[in-house]
Symmetry: D2
Subunit: 470 residues, 4 copies
């Protein structure tokens, strides 16, 4: 053997799944999310709305890689863009320019200018968390070094140390020492579990009022009325909470919240990593709510999951070259050409038809099916949706008490691949979310067909029935 | 117009470079590193050791995307791996398994076990900074929440907030508020600019002694001798400094340093993001120095720049499922299949020949050429190299005073594309690094041919001559 | 001139007040609270409930140095204790022992054991803030280094950096950079300004429920239900808020709150610096509320203002010599003999009569007078009291809108010394507090006579009348 | 029993020392420094240079409460000032003015203006640590919120959390969680344990050069040359290290250091808490070194230990009412009249004779005695002194290896009270300091008589002899 790489001979090129499983047990960190499941599934190929295991069983995917593959697995047009880029310019240092980066930035910024009424610029990176970190740097820079942020209970913005500081779950911080920039987490109008006797809109108003209380006097802790200064630089929001369980706030909520922020000089940073790129039927989910962000963070589906390209758009006053000069932040793969080429094709693709309308229509149809399931299954506590961001809450027989155990069981059951429709075996890929981990967060292929929606409802029905009988 | 994406019509599909430049000026953040240069270059395609502009002028790349494209632009074998994966399983949620992830982790971990004598595991992410953040979480978790680290003057570990805390340059922190986990930066034996009258090895020893002083008593500030505890959890090192100027320490240095760390229970985290994957002729550059890491961070060239896959390897005691359980850290694109497939092919490729020996041989030849240039050009203050990580320091006429201005000029001059060899026009892509930004950090294609090395020396010669005449 | 101290000749030994005022303007920092007032008053002597200016005008003091001089100015018995100690052992290094320190600690700890049902120990320091800092160290040590605390909106615990972190007002932090251990501030049942339509007890219950919400799931941000661990180490409370405006919570409040804390392993630290030592008719004000502290902080009136002695009492499990060993914290003047001697005499003095009953009786009488004033003056929005901690809220004509300007005017007016009762001129010393700085926080001499109470009411009456006429 | 204070009957008014010891064991925190000693000593009275136990054995005190009682126990003139103030105005709220505060501030500020060439102001507090905290707030405010400081290895500035951050010993931070403002500790020219072959001055120069290296490039970590900004706001120094072992730097040291600070906009904060007020023969010890502070912190001996008054002087530009406005910082007992009255008398007293000259003369005589002891006792490794701040380092037989155990034994032995001179029994009070806790830090009464110096040398001689024989 001539190499100093002591390895090649040791792995069978055609290792069996059992052998792979043994290797995984031995050499893979279990610190990621794979081992949330007892026997994690291997997948071998994918197509459209389906992933396939070695036995070629189709698994209908209702989560699409946490909404990263919005346009279907191996979308032909987007895959072709990737193939083309591989053959021409798959690599180029991010300190030089390539056409696709510039065109992509221009598309996003012009669209934002049209929608939000402010000129702005785009800064790329890779991975949602790194874009969130860039947004934190942007905010800290613009506010003279302020590093405290508001964020929502139930909010999730990533797992780097900075992103973890503004992510609500204490579990993500617990074993990692001190977080000196921990956000202050504010109640989100999660109406299904909110106070009794309030309408959704009333609850939204209530949450804003509760937040506004903090600015009543200097002794409420965050505001110096004499100086007119806030201790907090920005409010980080997901318009619809992702990990928090696809919770959709009332339509009045962000408008009222934004007024409080504007009155106190607090920036609005909108995290569109999971809900952006047409998941809710609009390019950015915030477009539903009638407010404009100061900073917008995107990632995931912008490349349909083919590349971790991410980025931020920010208002000119925060990101112009004078205030955010060359060298402000950087990463090797930021604006990598594989990512920008696919993202550019993605945005071109969706602009050629009224893509949003199609998503809204499919979403309405899907939600109808979910409601029908709710009417027949007592353990379905809540269903809701905006576009194709849908939720189904699994509860005890009272239809309210969160039942994580049953949902875990359903999720494992779906992975067995033994559900049957029209004599064909299927698996069902579900993702679990929510404050109590009892919510099916549904993010199907935005190009899902009507037949596949029927299939989805049918498979969910079977799962619910099995769950009730177990 | 049917789409709500207000953009498609606005960008000419065949925008000219001037038009692109105008768009870039208007809509791109200048906060990355593009605008370090006055007139940043557009590139259109790439091949082997070259990138090409619209006029198809070949630019010999001596930096290869900060050492991310170690195996040449559009390396056929690795590109084919990418094409294949695109056609089969380009997307799969990281909470499920795919063969390539497991095989890649096993290859890396078995190799590390062989070389470093410790069983361990691999945890993937995307982007070097995110892997660094994961390593920080791993260290903080393992040490009961300790969040202070040692790192080197001249060291660079990324630009997320956590990585910035352990990156030496204050410029990267200055406008971003308080960094409560700022590392303590320790002198690195940068011999060319070290104290006069010491050999390289003596200087290495001196630096270790200076560090060891800190442990002499509780009042030196970092050590409680009574409790036998250190205030600092880990020491982050780049074996050869990257951004710091491809500085190669003496061979005794890390062995002596490791002893001090071991004596005080401080972990060693080795950042191989830039120097790993055969840049120095070994899979990991630390292999040259006779010490074993507790944690090793990798990225960049593991996919030859086709995908931002990154990761960490850590000793079993730090990363086993009991101490680092499911859900410890996570990101959507961690272990994305495009990345793992290419990385797996990369490691297979290098294992099939004695790749390291070839790199060492090419490196020796290249360094010879650089030394010859040094002998003829007074402004070349220092040249050095390990494998194909090479450096050339541009100085004033005294051969010592750092001359950033001249190097900037050379760098721009190389981008003109008007250097000529054998009647053909060439450009030359150089990267600038070092404490004083006067170092050409050379990271050529590891598969560079002998002829291309001659070409490189010749082009550098022309540039140096022009620089001396300007 | 023989001295190197260049000063003695420059200050007239008998400088006039005008000269002093000029010196003060030039050489004194105005960063303390003196210049809250336009023309700060000089005082020359004091006695009982009165301070006197150079003209020997008596100023009835209804604030008694923010409740530090609970037992009257120049209390004969306590002054004598000071004289005696000066003559015998006024100085002794705190690393040696003196009788008074031990007796004082024993008195406090035995009393606490009796009342709170837990053995404990006392640790002395000087200045309330330093005792608060010691308590933070105690909590951080006991909880394995956790440094996040809950505290109340309206709460005040001092101005050192650590104490400022847990003090609600942002104004106190605003100009001092980042506070990485900023407390999370929780709503206090300040009933007069609470939600309409709730009884005082209902509001107390509401505040506890609002706090308890934070523990509903990991995504509410402070609690990991799986691990059963809280992100927050302790809750710092003032049983009755001092600077916050002498706000008295409902009697059910702390009992309900304590249950939430106990359920989640969060310590209760009770700050008695302002309300302790019989201000409310009990040695510690928390005694009214039926809960036991884990740590109790005291200061101010324990020496009747003759010495800044302060200290903490903590439960044995937190402060025993194994967990809090020698050298854990320290300051030169901690347990200084002047302070311990006077404090010991203070506690002996109050133990010889039913001091508490007398305070409750005087307090009831005083409150009756305040209520009578309220019935006649529309601008008196709220009066309340517990023992001799009393409050009167100055409002607009609606009896609700906070009117800081009028109270500032009243406070200055009282300092003029031209109020008249029975043909004698008086001044009136008032302190301003509250979330909106519109509250007279009344802390009269605990040994105030019935006649002096009548005088106080009469002087307040005059001031209110003047205020309404201005 | 009529009181609710459940305590009075429990403590014998005339408890024996054994009874007290039992109470102390049970109810006193051992977290202070008392239990560094196995059997801590009770003292009953004091006079001049002596403290006395219950048996009236005189203990010659060579440490004077860590230099707080510079003018002798129960100094008649200063005690009288205290008696007088007790009888007239012992208490007055710090928001009002009293003559002594103003006169004292004026004396200090005028003297500083004369010596340091800058107008400035004085801000009072109690306890050295609180004054240090105030200085941190002043610096953070003045530098726009910067909170990182340089300080010295061996330096000590107090035990509040903020002061602990800038105090070198990790032991003081170890059990208390994260310190996000931990200072960067710089080598102090402790010549006796410095590098061999350097003169004291050369070592001072070397230390400054080592510090100056940090500013060579942005990659040395603390300086952005492009922006001309330092990451660190101020350098905290003790001119002569106190707890660090009364280490006296070379005379060139601070001048050279100050130049580096001035070149990089870093403030100089001088902590005179232990070495100020004539300990070294000047009002402020920094006066010896030819540099002017930006901020000066004082405490301890300013009241001869009768009251914890402390304070800061700062240059006008940092502390004028515009930049440091009313309410910037505050504590109840700041500028308390007992403290200011005694401090004023102290400064008047020392100004009436050439007090400094007398200290220098006594110091020289004492040092001569120490040198003579060194010549006769091998275990005396180093003696040195400036004024009456003197040091004697106890070592192994080689005269160099630190021997903490022997010094601990000597210290306990001195507390036995069985040393004899001229047939009279004496005890000897020594304090232990230094990086290795093997230094006798001698701070005798500044009014010590020649006979008492002889006695001191004689008692030390006996102790050394006993130690060598044990």
């Amino acid at each position: 053997m001539r190499s100093n790489l002591k390895l090649a001979a040791n792995v069978h090129p055609t290792a069996s799944e059992d052998e792979l499983r043994q290797l995984e047990k031995t050499y893979c960190s279990h610190g990621d999310t794979v081992h949330y499941s007892q026997k994690p599934k291997f997948f071998e190929s994918c197509d459209g709305s389906f992933v396939f295991d070695a036995a070629e069983t189709p698994f209908l995917d209702l989560q699409m890689w946490y909404s990263a593959v919005n346009f279907g697995y191996r979308n032909e047009r987007l895959n072709n863009a990737a193939h083309r880029q591989l053959d021409r310019l798959p690599q180029v240092a991010s300190q030089y320019l390539h056409r696709e980066k510039v065109e992509l930035a221009a598309l996003i910024a012009r669209d934002a200018e049209h929608k939000f009424g402010s000129k702005g610029r785009v800064h790329f990176n890779v991975g949602g968390s790194q874009a969130v970190e860039d947004s934190l740097k942007l905010v800290r820079n613009y506010t003279g070094g302020k590093s405290l942020m508001f964020a929502f209970e139930g909010g999730y913005h990533g797992r780097t140390l900075g992103a973890t500081s503004i992510t609500s779950s204490y579990r993500y911080r617990r074993r990692y020492g001190h977080f000196g920039e921990r956000a202050q987490f504010i109640e989100f109008p999660y109406h299904f579990r909110g106070p009794k006797g309030m309408s959704k809109e009333e609850y939204g108003h209530y949450c804003v009022q509760k937040f506004a209380r903090l600015f009543e006097s200097e002794y409420n802790g965050v505001w110096d009325p004499k100086a007119g200064k806030s201790e907090y630089a920005a409010f980080y929001i997901e318009p619809i909470q992702g990990t928090g369980g696809y919770v959709i706030p009332p339509m009045n909520f962000f408008k009222e919240l934004k007024k409080v922020l504007d009155d106190h000089g607090i920036l609005l940073v909108v995290d569109e990593i999971q809900m952006g790129v047409y998941r809710t039927g609009k390019l950015w989910s915030i477009e539903h709510f009638g407010v404009s962000p100061d900073v917008l963070v995107f990632g995931k589906a912008i490349t349909n999951g083919l590349n971790p390209l991410s980025g931020i758009w920010a208002k000119e006053e925060m990101i112009n070259p004078t205030i955010f000069p060359p060298g402000s932040t950087h990463s090797t793969f930021a604006s990598n050409p594989m990512g920008t080429a696919v993202a550019l094709e993605t945005l071109k693709m969706v602009s050629e038809t009224d893509f949003g309308a199609s998503v809204m229509e499919k979403g309405a149809h899907f939600l109808e099916g979910l409601k029908e399931l709710q009417s027949r299954h007592a353990i379905v506590g809540d269903v809701d949706g905006l576009g194709l961001a849908l939720r189904m809450e699994i509860c005890g027989p009272d239809g309210f008490t969160p039942d994580k155990a049953t949902l875990d069981w359903m999720s494992d059951e779906g992975m067995k691949g033994d559900l049957a429709v029209d004599g064909r075996k299927y698996g069902l890929v579900l993702d679990v979310g929510g404050y109590h981990k009892n919510v099916i967060t549904l993010a199907p292929n935005l190009m899902i067909s009507r037949e596949e929606i029927e299939l989805a409802i049918s498979l969910l029905d079977q799962l619910l029935t099995r769950a009730e009988r177990r």
